[in-house]
């Protein structure tokens, strides 16, 4: 389905969801490039209500047949909803459609947050360079706020099964090792060595069961020139678990963007201090090391599975090849670095 066919069908769906609205139209629908796990479009929804014209900018995210990350869209939707209006800035979720009748594939619609940037590359240019300290403080403070949140009070345990504190690492490592087993197109001696080490040196039990964003990194939030963050995006891999898991993902060296700084912004120790202050939790160095190495393995599993989706023909979009070619070797080098073998 091209954009021309999509717009009227989306407008018809919106009209059904807005019974008091009339003249519902979808305008300026255009695809946003880069999304590997969802097909993402921006558009303007216009309608009349109470005799007045209305307009709202929105984002449509549609599941492709095979994506880089296979996730439950309801989990993602509820994670956004849980944090809307909190200290963790997220876009407002509007509709979730799990059926395929309306647009052939399941989808969600959210309010668009406009006027900010997400691309990491801009951060290494003026005027953004001057805002790195502020951005880093905001980034790891927000991540700490996610860790501080009570997933049971937010009702997220209804859609995300909570593990036992001592079982967080077993579940996550087992899940991503299974992905590697199923999807690797060639042997991965470095990742396999890391997995053996992780199993032989388990981390302590989680201090609490918290919300884990699952992909909190530079590039997955909207920022401005002052270093303020206006939206945390890409909650596809959200789940409940050890909050240190998110900290470890943010410290995965592939997200340093060749700058040898956490997220390309500040030294690891500075990032960890912001996170500890906001979360109220302790980042035990050995546990952080374990979760950082785990996240290197998780990253490799994601890059490998994107290659697998392309090889098997389920998704031949070039975005599926880019991480496989562009991140697999850097991820191996990140593993070596974290294991002190580089």
């Amino acid at each position: 389905m091209g954009s021309a066919d999509l717009a009227p069908r989306l407008a018809a769906y919106a009209a059904r969801r807005m019974p008091t609205a009339s003249d519902v139209e979808v305008r300026d629908l255009s695809r946003i490039s880069g999304g590997a796990s969802r097909q993402t479009y921006r558009f303007r929804l216009t309608w009349s209500e109470d005799g007045a014209p209305r307009e709202r900018r929105m984002i449509l995210r549609r599941d492709p047949p095979v994506s880089l990350i296979d996730t439950e869209r309801r989990v993602e939707f509820e994670a956004y909803r849980a944090f809307f209006g909190s200290k963790v800035p997220v876009p407002e979720m509007i509709w979730l459609e799990e059926g395929t009748e309306a647009l052939d594939l399941p989808f969600s619609v959210a309010a668009e947050i406009t006027g900010y940037e997400a691309a990491p590359a801009l951060l290494w240019t003026e005027p953004y360079l001057a805002a790195h300290e502020t951005l880093a403080r905001n980034k790891w403070t927000i991540l700490g706020e996610i860790a501080r949140a009570d997933p049971f009070a937010l009702g997220l345990d209804q859609v995300m099964p909570p593990p036992e504190p001592e079982g967080c690492w077993v579940r996550e490592l087992g899940m991503w090792e299974t992905v590697l087993d199923a999807d690797e197109a060639e042997p991965l001696p470095i990742a396999r060595a890391a997995i053996r080490w992780l199993r032989a040196n388990p981390p302590p039990p989680a201090q609490k069961i918290g919300v884990v964003h699952g992909d909190f990194r530079t590039g997955n939030f909207l920022y401005d020139r002052q270093g303020d963050i206006h939206g945390v995006l890409d909650w596809e891999m959200a789940h409940l678990g050890d909050p240190l898991e998110d900290l470890g993902w943010s410290l995965n060296p592939v997200w340093n963007f060749k700058r040898d700084l956490a997220g390309g912004l500040v030294p690891d120790g500075v990032a960890i201090a912001y996170w500890e202050a906001a979360s109220g939790l302790r980042a035990d160095p050995a546990a952080v090391h374990w979760w950082t190495l785990f996240n290197c393995v998780k990253g490799q599993a994601i890059w490998i599975s994107s290659a697998r989706a392309w090889i098997d023909g389920g998704n031949r979009e070039p975005i599926m090849v880019l991480p496989a070619w562009g991140l697999q070797n850097p991820q191996d080098r990140a593993i070596l670095k974290v294991m002190d073998h580089l």
């Binding site: 091209g2 954009s3 255009s30 695809r31 946003i32 490039s33 880069g34 197109a185 060639e186 042997p187 991965l188 001696p189 470095i190 396999r192 060595a193 053996r196 060296p253 592939v254 997200w255 340093n256 963007f257 060749k258 290659a307 392309w310 090889i311 031949r316 070039p318 975005i319 090849v321 880019l322 991480p323 496989a324 070619w325 562009g326 991140l327 697999q328 070797n329 850097p330 991820q331 191996d332 080098r333 990140a334 070596l336 073998h341 580089l342």
Partner: protein, 142 residues
């Protein structure tokens, strides 16, 4: 590199041809072509050294497996062969068998408590580090 470069290039040829058609959404066209350009750049960078990298790595892996003696178990036969067919697909398939043998050897060595095992383990980590040096690309994303 997986997916294999020839398969990706063939797919990109079709994608570029489709994007030459009039009437496409400019944003979709721009996204498809910019990603294609990035992949073409990576393929170009990997192309010249691909056979050299595989031959060099296969030789190093065979030497490691040969020096491991009985520890290689059923993979012992891998150590004695040579790369006669220099097609990249054939070299890659051999490389995959050798790297699978290295994984098995690495796990065996980790379980041994002897100076010889530690020395062999150190050589395995050195080879793994070198394997990432051989695969480095200036166009990598990180």
């Amino acid at each position: 590199m997986k997916p294999d470069i020839p398969a990706v290039l063939a797919e990109l040829a079709g994608l570029v041809a489709r994007n030459a058609a009039p009437g496409l959404d400019p944003a979709e066209r721009a996204g498809a072509l910019s990603l294609s350009a990035a992949l073409l750049g990576m393929a170009a960078e990997a192309w010249d050294g691909a056979a050299q990298r595989l031959v060099e790595e296969n030789r190093a892996l065979r030497a490691l497996l040969a020096d491991a003696g009985d520890r290689t178990g059923p993979d012992a036969g891998l150590a004695g062969a040579k790369d006669e067919d220099l097609k990249i697909s054939v070299l890659s398939a051999t490389n995959a068998r050798l790297r699978a043998g290295l994984i098995a050897l690495h796990a065996v060595v980790e379980g041994e408590d002897s100076p010889e095992a530690r020395a062999l383990e150190s050589r395995i980590w050195q080879e793994l580090r070198l394997s990432t040096e051989r695969r480095r690309m200036s166009s990598a994303l990180a």
